[in-house]
Amino acid sequence: MLRTEEMLLNVGPQHPSTHGVFRLVIKIEGEIIKEATPVIGYLHRGTEKLAENLQYTQIIPYTDRMDYLAAMTNNYVLCHAVETMANITVPDRAEYLRVITMELGRIASHLVWWGTYLLDLGATSPFLYAFREREMIINLLNELCGARLTFNYMRVGGVKWDAPDGWLEKVAEFIPYMREQLHGYHQLVTGNEIFLNRVKGVGTYTREEAIAYSLSGANLRCTGVKRDLRKDEPYSIYNRFSFGVPTREAGDAWSRYECRMEEIEESLKILEQAVAQFPSDGPILAKVPKIIKPPKGEAFIRIESPRGEIGCYIASDGKKEPYRLKFRRPSFYNLQILPKLLEGENMANLIAILGAIDIVLGEVDG
């Protein structure tokens, strides 16, 4: 009797589709995956250990390096945690700037995901289209804080830089442009039969599994769980905007795709309202001491990042450095379900499944 041989295949750490230094050891029979073991840690930089010797403001640049595709959210979660502990009220204008930058970041992050996901599936053009739009967002953020990826923009109590003249107008102009492009994206990709065949019914999990595996973000919402911390536990000024939380029922790669695409639209809505309500005057930084010393105690604060719930735990002993700092990194939690999803799958689906989770290795490895 003929027997096909089992083969041990190392996907990564330098594979084009692992989106960074991520290794996946898979056991395949023919093209069917029998077992998958993720190996992570190649990008571990010990942010948490480093932070124990840094003042709070000094930690902010380190957070930029975690989820480097949406660094504003990382900035925010740290600042927000410290502000909550120290009971600091952030001026309105700063909150609006924060929301605008965070939502811009969310769109940019989803655009990168969209482009690279289609690149994984073999389509080259969407990648370039997505990066063209992302470039505009990055230019906007660059104008604001002088950096394209590692912004270091937020501070405890507000933001570092005020919006330059004409910046808000540029953001306002970007919104209808992005809507139009989004329409083009759907025209190009969303209806494509080949694409649909690649993503529909691929990497499916149920609502219960998603919750059990602590998935968050679009990975959770694609199973029909309507959970978005911006709505459920409003932080910052998100309760001032009307926006929807897109959900799907199927729980496959396709529904994740749909959720993310719709999230871009919702983010555009938030941006539109934020630009319209933007206070014309006011401080951008609350009156906080030069050296921030949160009271003794601990806090764990979560917010909604493009990839899911990002959390920041601070244990303070009342000194200017945190006693212990820990980030809940959504990609780290979201990636856990991968071995389960890959079991028994086709080798070609590996890419479609891994890509749909939307991980950033800087975040997975901390």
Partner: protein, 169 residues
């Protein structure tokens, strides 16, 4: 016998064909053997061409080199073939084998040398594909159809056997 281009081509092709056959037996790696076989097949196709049997030549390449060898390669590459060949038989057996081969070669040589093929006036270079078609569908239509039924049965049989294997596993 004068040295013509045809002769040179034939010698070259025949040499490659025989070489391929010898290599097929002599090489140790199975994949190498199959590739040697490909060379034999292709050279034989070339000889067909020299005989103006272009249809047969093309079909030879299409089926033997194109399809069959690839299926063989597939089977070899995807299945476990770690077992090495056993040591060949003893010296007596080898000598007997050699004698047998020599005898066979001699017989064939005598047979071909004495064979007198009556030369028929044929139009070799003209539309032989059409002629094959006409022959197949008029004179040989029953064997042709029988053959296709046989192949179909073989195909179905192969699928059934493969399925059974799958369930047994």
């Amino acid at each position: 016998m004068s040295v013509s281009g045809e002769m040179l081509a034939f010698l070259g092709l025949a040499f490659v064909a025989v070489l391929g056959g010898i290599l097929l037996i002599q090489l140790t790696k199975v994949v190498h053997m199959v590739l040697a076989l490909v060379f034999t097949f292709v050279s034989i196709a070339g000889i067909y061409l020299l005989l103006s049997a272009e249809f047969v030549a093309v079909v030879q390449i299409l089926l033997y080199s194109g399809a069959i060898t690839i299926v063989m390669l597939f089977g070899i590459m995807l299945t476990n073939n770690q077992k090495q060949e056993e040591e060949k038989g003893n010296r007596w057996r080898k000598i007997l084998l050699l004698l047998g081969i020599l005898g066979f070669a001699f017989a064939v040589y005598i047979g071909i040398y004495n064979l007198d093929i009556p030369v028929q006036p044929t139009t070799l270079h003209e539309a032989n594909t059409e002629q094959i078609g006409i022959a197949l569908f008029s004179k040989f239509v029953i064997p042709f159809e029988l053959m296709s039924v046989l192949l179909l049965v073989a195909l179905v049989g192969a699928i059934v056997l493969a399925k059974k294997d799958d369930e047994g596993a």
